[in-house]
Amino acid sequence: MFFCNFQLSYESKHIITALWYIGKCINTSNLEETVLRMTNLSKSYGKIKALEGLDLEIGKGQVFGLLGPNGSGKTTTLGIVLGILNAQNGHFEWFNQPLSTGSLQKIGAILEHPNFYPYLNATDNLRITAQVRGVHPADIDRVLALVNLSDRKKHKYQTYSFGMKQRLAIASAMLGNPEVLILDEPTNGLDPSGIAEIRNLILKIAAEGTTIILASHLLDEVQKVCSHVVVLEKGRKLFSGKVDDMLSNTEIIELSADNIPLLETVVKAYPAYISHKVSGNILELKTEGKCDAAAINNFLFSNGIVCSHIFIRRKSLENYFLELVGHNNEIH
């Protein structure tokens, strides 16, 4: 048998404990950054796989977009992490703890449609929410003013237009100033001015440090508002990262010179080179990070090529998205 002598000296034990504790402190401050973490989340409705092995991590203060077509699993994901739906596999944590009513009270959420009692007016509906969260009734007037519903607060919910119902839902989610706001397609069915209003509201709330999780199928909205994004399709994650990175994936530099084959060879040697494609006498170059025309021009010139045409072309986000989804469909 191999006997290891574990008789550490008194001092070393203390040093080791101190180091472990310091390590934990450093680690904890990193962990505190994560607001929501999902590991391998899966759910099926009978034979339909709504979610397959989703891994996700959302940090404090991010405006996180869940982007995907209808039926991609956005609402299912939100339903699972809010405790409404049961996942068949995987697990998740809010604020590094398993789900509890304490965590839920720090989260304001709207899922799919606004859900209120039609026979009650706005104030009474919000009073019920306020009771559950232990929020002072004075906060109700504040959130109603925030969404411009103060003048209709005594009217019954069933008399509201759809836009007003959406706004009431947002007001309800914001009662008590939650740390996390979850909005599932908040601009659904709104007219353009309504959409702009909601967008400004989201940006305002985000500026105050609230973490926002936004599920949407509108690429435009996600691009304008979110800092991070995950793209879902048929329950699978296609892309995850910063919105800026996703946007940079949509940029292409068009180059042209007298000698295309030579251009190709030189371009391949460019440090940030990812891929290229030649069509006619235009070479389309994809680079890492944002496209820097000046840097490329410099590089080519110093290698003996004079460009006759440099142009940064932005593929539309929609095309990029369709490409992502189409590519996924080809494989599967």
């Binding site: 409404i84 739906l85 899922l111 009650l120 019920i128 559950v132 232990g134």
Partner: protein, 270 residues
Amino acid sequence: MKRLQSAINAELIKIINYRTFWVLTGLYILTLIVVLFGIQAFLNNVTVNINNKSPLPVPSITVYAFPMVWQNLAYVAGYLKVFPAFLIIILITNEFSFSTLKQQLITGTSRAIYLSAKIILIACFSIAIALTVGLCGLVAGLLQPTPDYSKIINPGLWFIGAHAFEIFSYLIFTAFIAIIFKRAGISVILLMLYTLVIEKILVFRLPESLGQKLPLESIGNLIPLPNSPLMKLFGVSFRNHTAWQDIASCLIYNLIFIALMYLILRKKDL
């Protein structure tokens, strides 16, 4: 405790501003009063008719005489317990059709607290109804030509308590059906089907010992058919107290239904 208090406040907000609630409750109380004060006249009519045709003199039945009034009224009121049941079905299925249960859970109620608040609401209804019946009994008894004041407070008063328990158990059973089916129409139909048809068939088919233990039978038997001079004529005598077996079996059913309701809320996707 504070969370339970908040949940109960939330339930109150939901019903106080609900016109349907007030209309149904008002109609029910009105029906209750009319029926309770009307049985005497009805029975008098019946006895007179029978007397005209029977060889033996049939004694008239005084419903509101003091010791017996509690049991008599509680027994009759027991037939009207479907009305509060409809109210409970509406209140609970509303939460599903408006998706407000889902919203309340997302907002941060726990399922246990939510269920507890509903149960406390049901308990309050039961007590209020029983007190109404008791009040009717008191008033009716005092309005008699010769009320026997010494017999006002007597063990018969337990029947009012039994009535509260009867309504409570029946409403818990109704709530259970409402939570399973989630839609008002189906719940009402199923409740009526079970009450009027299915359990009667089961009681008929099963052996006596088992049949008496079925939920609605136990609930109904909490208040047995009151003895009356008519019965004495035929030599039939019913119990004049509530049997402890029925109380125990109702308690067990209540616990089972409450546990099942909690499990359903826990496990089902909403």
